[in-house]
């Protein structure tokens, strides 16, 4: 397999460079990439250090490295540009055309996307995260009327990670409610969720995968047995359909995809 070195250079966290650069690299599945992240490149000294690092790490390769940059300062970028013939200016490439389209000059300031550019928005996000942590696994269901979304499903189907992502990324107050044997016997929407039914979204999962995940946590007993997982999943899905709830199978879907699907389906963005 061909190997190539890739550097992600940014004046702030490097998240934008990593996101787009990483996404572009997934288009080349036959090449094995070694990634190095150099964030907080904010001045001439740190830019020169980054160039040294890049040259040092690639001089035995015989191949020029790929360098993804989201730097905003043209002077800093011009230093980084000396590190390789393959420097991709992910940010600056669009600034000029965008200035034209918006008929406005850009501020050319260091990346603010992941800084605290808006204090109110930032506090909303932290308060959403606190709500989510305090309403995990069916905690305090009497507060669910304050939630933006309530995820429902059997234990270990992905509710908690999805809720955390929904609050962290979309600033949503995301609660979740685990379906347990009580609910299975009744085959009805849990009473406590009835008044917030329009906020409820179901998650389901393939029984084989559920059983595997549960065995890691509790290898013995009924909880992780495939037959029991089959029964629970089947009842959960019957309940979703009977109550006409939207639901999603999380088996082959990442947290980001589950979250984006829910946000779109519930019109929450």
């Amino acid at each position: 397999m061909t190997k190539r070195k890739v550097f992600f250079i940014s004046d702030r966290t490097g998240i934008t460079a990593e996101t787009l650069g990483g996404s572009l690299l997934t288009q080349f599945p036959k090449i094995q990439f070694t990634k190095t992240f150099i964030p907080f490149v904010t001045d001439v000294t740190s830019a020169k250090n980054a160039v040294s690092t890049i040259i040092e790490q690639t001089k035995v390769d015989g191949e020029d490295p790929i360098v993804f940059s989201t730097l905003t300062d043209p002077e800093i970028l011009s230093i980084i540009a000396t590190s390789s013939p393959n420097v991709f200016d992910l940010f600056g490439t669009f600034v000029g055309p965008l200035e034209k389209a918006l008929e406005s000059n850009s501020s050319r300031s260091a990346g603010k996307m992941h800084g605290i550019s808006d204090t109110t928005a930032y506090e909303t996000r932290l308060s959403a995260l606190n709500f989510t942590l305090n309403h995990d696994d069916g905690l305090s269901p009497s507060d669910f009327h304050e939630a933006d979304i309530v995820l429902m499903g059997v234990s270990r189907c992905g509710k908690t990670p999805t809720c955390l992502y929904l609050s962290m990324h979309y600033s949503l107050k995301a609660a979740n409610y685990p379906l347990t044997s009580d609910d299975f016997n009744k085959l009805k929407m849990p009473e406590v969720l009835r008044s917030v039914k329009n906020k409820v979204y179901g998650l389901t999962i393939r029984p084989e995968q559920l059983s595997r995940i549960r065995r890691e946590r509790r290898p013995e007993g009924e909880y992780s047995k495939l037959s029991n997982c089959r029964k629970e999943v089947s009842i959960a899905e019957t309940l979703f359909k009977a109550e006409n709830l939207p639901f999603l199978d999380t088996s082959t879907v990442s947290i980001e995809e589950i979250a984006a699907t829910i946000v779109q389906a519930m019109g929450l963005h």
Copy 2:
């Protein structure tokens, strides 16, 4: 303030489009943007629907909207391109030059960045998140030798959100340990952290901000009083310095920036 409509079109979650597009827009602070996200545009029908939405929402504006696309399929993109003269192809712009630099054809498949492209990596991430949830707020410190990082600081200085981000984004097992009155009296590294000292990173915060955050949670009592917050923060910082621990003031820094700083300082990426 000038207003402009912006659309983010993607064939998957839309996170890459939102990240880079949003980052570019922060360079135009004088314009107020109304953002619409249209993820999962995967076929001709959904592309045509997206175009209708864009045209519908902007026909009274008299200004062409900005459209950020991370679509990978040229046919779908060509449909979206009819929605506005200002369509920015954030992804395709770099695919050609990258093919040349890598001397390899791209797979031109839909964005995989936020899908489960690597099952092992995905399970590592979920297991990091579980570890983090089970080692929040000083829980099970006897497991801290398994952690990649242990954050230490006074209550409400940002430890939990940072740990969650570290696990969610960087797949790190992040534990945290709250400094309490016991530790304040001793003015020494808590005994239980001694053997993992090389994994400990301190967080601190301005006392005024700490007091405000704590008041929201518990308006009365010693806990949120400014004088008490001053004392706690001062002792925490003295302890960090005495023990020669790296530490960061989180007061004006976002979760992403705190996390990126820690990851770089501790060489964890």
